[in-house]
Amino acid sequence: MNAPRLVIIEGVRTPFSKMGSDLARLGPEELGRIAVSALLTKTGLNPALIDEVIFGCVGQPADAANVARVIALRAGIPEHVPAFTVHRNCASGCEAVTQAYEKMLAGRGEIFVVGGTESMSQVPLLYTHQAAAKFARLARAKSIGQKLGAMLSFRPSDFKPRIGLQLGLTDPVCGLNMGDTAEILAREHGVTREKQDAFALESHARAIAAREKLEEEICPIYPPYTKAVMTNDNGPRKEQSIEALTKLKPVFDRKNGTVTAGNSSQITDGAVALLVMSEMKAAELGMTPIGAMTGYAYAGCDPQRMGLGPVYAIAEAERRTGLTLDHADVVEINEAFAAQVIACLACLKSDEFAQKHLKREHHVGKVPKDVLNVNGGAIALGHPVGATGARLILTSLKELNRREGKRALISLCVGGGQGAAIWLERN
């Protein structure tokens, strides 16, 4: 098995910032621009050498269509370098990297700037179709009578916006909100409120403990882009207590639910940029990578149980690469919901689940606690949907280097019923 590897030279991300807080003023194009700019500065790469720029973004901005191209040009990457934007929901940041991998394998380029960006603060409010039709009629109206008529057709309900963020977090096929899918997993796999809250507390504690480590991968954001210099994520709570978590009301199933804002990922703004290239190119340029990508898999599953996506994807990646969970010195499973990660861990080690859903005899494997999300996860750091996949790659590779380990596995559940898994290794 000696497939060519895509090496990751370096990565940079903006601080992750809770929706509506420090970075709320910056759109996804600005966040991405800052990350790419910082990446180019940090690596010293001549941007004219880049073959393509690929960025993941879920809530793509209406005023910066093909946001990857906007980011590339604004970060000073020359016009001749093409760029495109990818969307695989929560795995969009992974998709950008795996696209680069595929392109490299196909001989369509050797140096890529990839990443993900998301401003969940700036996901717009929308008008209903009904209201939009009325606006269109008004715009077309010529005579005063027509205009008056068009105006009079409006009803107060027409002005009630549809919240883009809410729509985005609702599965249009099964009709469930992402939180509802987590409630299903909690019920079916017996993940109690206590277990979820304890998991959330641990995420915060680990993120707080890892503050300095995480700062290594962050490019500070300065005024005038922010009010004050921002050098780190603002999600992790030092004073987080189990009492406080326990007090929170369930958000999705208010009466019988267990999923709260405290044990779910935070809604966050942020961007990540990675410089990736073929191993040969890296050697030619004399650049030392922080790691390499060796294989990956996406897998589909039941949209109502999208949270189990990692289980499917990790199993599929094993089939493709032969690597099992035992091979991983660092594992990241994105913390969309505490319930969802805990359910994944349970299914991964269940023979029954393996036989029923994965068409295999034995369970996939176990993930030791001291390997999983060791620097905290999205519950503490936040989950800027389009960016997270790329962050997991960056964070896990940095940790792999710190631990001087061999391999890392990152995985995410994806809204709409998918999972993503990527195998990385240190040189």
């Binding site: 621009r33 700019s37 910082a38 180019l40 500065t41 940090k42 690596t43 010293g44 001549n46 604004r74 970060a75 000073g76 500070p220 300065y222 005024p223 005038p224 882009y225 004050a228 210099v229 050098t231």
Partner: protein, 736 residues
């Protein structure tokens, strides 16, 4: 030939026996090409061979006159279009070399009258005339457009339209002062002419200086169409009520009085061209066109012979020289092609570092802004953003351009690879140890071809260079504060700096639209070296009893843009003291830093930044007023009785002396470098031509005599050897 169809507008050059004959007669290269279209429109394309610019010299005027003859002899022609084949210049005005070299008033008068006559003939040619403007269209270039019936201009950045004559100490005299107020009304015309303004296409359209904006590619086509479709209607301009009202006696009086008052405040009578232009424009408007043109002519004849005008034109030439400079004038090594700078790094995000980063980024150059701490970067970036915001407010940049500029500045608080930077400019704290450490490190991080530059205003470049393995690539690139407003940059050549690095640094300075002066490495370089004795003297005079008002007012009367004590406040009392003390320690024979500055610093009187210094500075753009309590810092009375003239004499003499010393010590090669540096770097009264030109005009023997008289009591006034020698042998700094 009338068809209802859209006329075909192919422009076909026609061989033309008359034209060929004309050329043979003049026996010189053609400056204006003539085509006649199939539809009988005569297109005159200004295209001076072997030049990027078109100008009006005698030959060009004569040639235009010949073309007018041709048009008048061809009754088939439907109209005339004036255009230019140059990339960024329509017509850059009159040939200033010819103007300034006119030896006799008659020569100047002939030139002026020739222009007036030719433009008059164009304006009465009998068929519609359209100017199709792309690129700089200034002075005589716009005056010829004013003689046309209709004006089109491209929206490109290169297109600049206006009458900058008063900035050169003259008035528009080829009909500009006469035709512009008739076209756009008195008050707008005064604004343009007295301000010597040039406008972009959009504002020019708004105030009526042009009639339409048309993309460059369609300019000539559109001009031809207009002639064919609208014909003689183009010649008729509706009378504008507002213009008529402004011509009424009382209204005109009111406008004139108001403008006069503003002028006096601004120019203190140092710029006679401006009040003269006011007189010509207002009086001309009440007279016939011919009479008004006579006024123009008389005015320029009067002004053209003044020293102020000559000096202003000289500065114009010195600026042009700086744009083309490639190193020391004496450096004749073969010139290698210098490729433009693609990216730079600025080390130090303070006011200067931030200013340099802002300016370079606004000139399309990506900048890494490096500092050691986050707060310094934050302050630097915020400062850069503010300059951009102001530029947007002033309409100097669009929002998109300003954002693109901001995008080009990439901050870093940690070491990053700098091998791709063509130039690294260090603008850190002025401490030799620190700079040496920094340069040693930069030497490692930089690529083999990177220029290592320091923005130091005081420290020795040669010494800084010793910290590196490649002293030949170390140079000073010294910007002035505020960077976005000061055009001058001192390129400081250290002992080991290679000529190639000098050339590249000069090219870089030009690339970002600044004006370089190349100086050798010595304390204070050129500008600060000459400025400091002046500021020190001001402090000394104050310390010994002279009043703040008298000191500053005396120099304002001299023509400085700001009094010396006010300047100390603006720069910061602490910074001034630091620089002055540093220089004084190196020239202790003649400079002693006055103690008053240290006393003020101890009392937190730091000037503008602390709100108090020699003046009280209020926050909101109000003029500062003299600090009433500053008197307690007087420690003597020996200068209390000096008149303003005496105060001024002392300060100016010291500047002249130090200027001469710079020349003597080979800091620069020519007197013109000193004068250029002082005018551009300190705002030294431009109409006086700079300290050395001024000394020449006053008479060097007089200067030396006055200095010797003062030196009897105060040895710092001892004239330097060069001054004494020149005065003794009856020579001057400039060879006439």
């Amino acid at each position: 030939m009338t068809t209802s169809q859209t006329p075909a507008l192919k422009i076909v050059p026609r061989t033309d026996p008359v034209m060929e004959a004309t050329n043979m007669i003049h026996d010189m290269p053609e400056l204006i090409r003539r085509h006649v279209t199939d539809d009988q429109v005569c297109v005159l394309t200004f295209d001076r061979p072997d030049s990027a610019a078109n100008i009006f010299d005698k030959a060009a005027l004569m040639e235009l006159s010949d073309h007018i003859n041709y048009v008048m002899c061809n009754s088939d022609l439907k109209g005339v279009v004036l255009t230019s084949a140059k990339k960024s210049i329509f017509i850059a005005g009159a040939d200033l070399t010819q103007l300034s070299k006119a030896r006799t008033p008659e020569e100047l008068r002939d030139m002026i009258e020739l222009g007036q006559v030719v433009f008059n003939r164009l304006s009465t040619i009998g068929i519609p005339t359209v100017a199709a403007i792309h690129g700089a269209c200034v002075g005589g270039g716009y005056e010829v457009c004013l003689a046309c019936d209709y004006r089109l201009a491209s929206p490109d950045k290169a297109t600049k339209i206006g009458l900058p004559e008063t900035q050169l100490g003259i008035v528009p005299a080829w009909g500009g002062s006469t035709r512009l107020p008739r076209l756009i009304g008195l008050s707008k015309a005064l604004d343009i002419i007295l301000g010597g303004k040039t406008l972009a296409a959009k504002p020019a359209l708004k105030c009526g200086m042009i009639d339409e904006i048309v993309p460059r590619e369609y300019l000539v086509e559109k001009a031809c169409q207009l002639i064919l479709w609208r014909g003689t209607k183009l010649r008729v301009r509706p009378t504008r009520l507002a213009h008529t009202i402004m011509k009424l006696g009382p209204v005109m009086n009111f406008i004139t009085k108001k403008v006069q008052r503003q002028l006096q405040q601004k120019t203190r009578g140092h710029y006679p061209a401006i009040p003269k232009a006011l007189e010509v424009v207002t009086q001309g408007l009440t007279k016939s066109l011919e009479a008004s043109l006579l006024l123009e002519r008389d005015a320029i004849l009067e002004l053209g012979t003044t020293e102020a005008c000559k000096n202003l034109i000289r500065i114009f030439f010195l600026q042009e020289r700086a744009k083309k400079l490639s190193g020391f004038a004496a450096d004749t090594t073969t010139e290698t092609k210098v490729s433009p700078v693609k990216r730079i790094t600025v080390v130090g995000a303070g006011i200067m570092g931030g200013g340099i980063a802002q300016w370079a980024s606004s000139r399309d150059i990506p900048v890494i802004l490096r500092d050691i701490n986050h707060d310094a970067i934050a302050k630097g970036l915020a400062g850069i953003a503010k300059i951009y915001e102001q530029a947007v407010k002033r309409h100097a940049l669009t929002k998109v351009e300003a954002r693109a500029g901001m995008d080009r500045v990439s901050p870093s608080a940690v070491d990053v690879p700098l091998h791709s930077a063509d130039v690294i400019i260090e603008a850190a704290v002025e401490k030799m140890d620190l700079k040496k450490q920094l340069f040693a490190r930069l030497d490692e991080l930089a690529g083999p071809n990177t220029i290592l530059a320091s923005n130091t205003s005081a420290l020795s470049i040669s010494e800084i260079a010793t910290a590196t393995k490649h002293p030949e690539r170390v140079i000073g690139i010294h910007f002035f504060n505020p960077v976005h407003r000061m055009q001058l940059v001192e390129v400081v050549v250290g002992r080991q700096t290679s000529p190639e690095v000098v050339r590249r640094a000069v090219k870089f300075v030009q690339q970002i639209g600044k004006l370089p002066v190349v100086v050798r490495d010595a304390p204070g370089f050129l500008v600060n070296r000459i400025l400091m004795p002046y500021l020190i003297e001001a402090g000394h005079l104050f310390e010994n009893g002279a009043r703040v008002e008298d000191i500053d007012e005396s120099m304002l009367e001299f023509g400085m843009p700001m009094g010396p004590l006010r300047l100390i406040d603006e720069v910061g009392v602490d910074v001034s003291n630091h620089v002055a003390a540093d220089l004084a320690s190196k020239f202790s024979d003649r400079m002693h830093c006055p103690e008053v500055l240290s006393k003020m610093i101890a009392d937190q009187l730091l000037g503008k930044k602390s709100g108090k210094g020699f003046y009280l500075h209020s926050k909101k753009g109000k003029e500062p007023v003299v600090n009433m309590r500053i008197d307690k810092y007087h420690s003597g009375t020996s200068c209390a009785k000096l008149t303003r003239d005496e105060l001024r004499t002392r300060m100016v003499l010291l500047m002249i002396n130090e200027s001469a010393r710079c020349l003597e010590g080979g800091i620069v090669d020519e007197a013109a470098d000193v004068d250029f540096g002082m005018i551009m770097g300190t705002g030294f009264a431009p109409f006086l031509g700079g300290p050395l030109r001024f000394a020449d005009n006053v008479g060097l023997s007089l200067v030396v005599a006055e200095m010797k008289r003062l030196a009897d009591e105060e040895p710092r006034f001892t004239p330097c050897n060069l001054l004494q020698t020149l005065a003794g042998t009856g020579q001057t700094f400039y060879k006439s």
